[in-house]
């Protein structure tokens, strides 16, 4: 059983020398995040698995060349997100080919809940997930770790992100602010507060 407290730098160092256990540990540690970003982009299970494979193959390939092991979480977040967007674009191109009338949806609109979803209790969750996917990778990674159940300690989060514990609080605040200001969430909050929606000039 690998030591779960080993910090990310150490594990990456071992993995890039070819250590299979260290690699397995990286996957165990980061798979929930990769999976979750895929699902937040509303990818199907099959598409999420496909994105996962791309991400891990790409990481295996780049591992010997990673100069800053501490950059791994950010690299993973960016790569996963780009792959999700690529999958969504591919789906959109395919949909356009099959149904040319349906060309005006952009990726942002794809992520917004459909009108029917407004009726469901899950709408707030859908909006929050959509807003979450719009955050920069470092915020996604930090907020993801801050919302684990059971909760992780700041010390553990600091270790995983290679971030001083003292920096977590301020970053938490900044990232939550960005989340709040995400157009999807901000728009939804305004609509939620003013159901008539005719207060705009």
């Amino acid at each position: 059983m690998p030591d779960d407290s080993a910090d990310v730098t150490e594990i990456v160092e071992q993995a890039r020398g070819g250590d299979k256990d260290a690699w397995d540990q990286i996957v165990i540690r980061f798979a929930p995040f990769v999976w979750h970003v895929c699902r937040a982009h509303r990818l199907s299970i099959e598409d999420a698995k496909d994105v996962g494979q791309t991400v891990w193959l790409s990481l295996v390939e780049h591992l010997p060349r990673i100069r800053q092991p501490a950059a791994l979480p950010g690299w993973l977040a960016t790569t996963t997100r780009n792959e999700c967007l690529r999958t969504l674009r591919r789906q959109r191109v395919q949909a356009e080919r099959e149904q040319p009338a349906n060309v005006d949806l952009d990726i942002l609109a794809d992520l917004l809940p459909s009108p029917d979803a407004r009726l469901l209790n899950g709408e707030r969750d859908a909006v929050l997930r959509a807003a979450f996917t719009q955050l920069p990778p470092h915020c996604q990674e930090l907020l993801f770790l801050l919302t684990r159940d059971p909760p992780l300690s700041y010390a553990e989060i600091g270790e995983r992100l290679n971030m001083p514990v003292g920096a977590i609080g301020p970053n938490r605040g900044r990232c939550l602010n960005r989340l709040r200001r995400c157009p999807i969430l901000a728009t939804w909050l305004r609509a939620d507060g003013e159901p008539e929606g005719d207060a705009l000039p």
Binding site: K20, A31, G52, Q53, E61, R97, D125, L146, R172, L176
Partner: protein, 155 residues
Amino acid sequence: MTNDWTDDNFLLSALSHALRDMDDPPPDFITAGQSCHAWFTIDSELAELTYDSARHHDDAATRAEVAAVQALTFTGSHLTIELEIEPHATHGQIVPPQLGEIEFQVPDGEAIRVRTDEFGYFTVAFVPSGRFRLRCSTSKGVVMTTSWVTLDAPD
């Protein structure tokens, strides 16, 4: 708890609920990731995809031509590999020309190997689809692996 969206603790717990509601990765998502370690290589140079005709429609004379043959170029610091993927065969060349072996690798399957002639040319009755990469080793001692590429499934 009141719905005070300006409150960090409320926002975080709402996000927490939204994210928690999502499923955990299935076990095969993790094992699939772990098995990618099989493709770990430390000895070879990495060549990146630098040209893909499917993404450069403007360069091509007609779209029909593009559809019939997909051309890919992988560039490394010692070698370039040109690939032309036709409906029933794949042709290619390594530049500068030299004898060598090209291996088509796919994530879950057997590799296809082909030797180049002295001019670096090779032809194989194999058409990659989905995800693959090339590994090339030459008589001059170059060992190079390309990045993984994913070809869109034909319509």
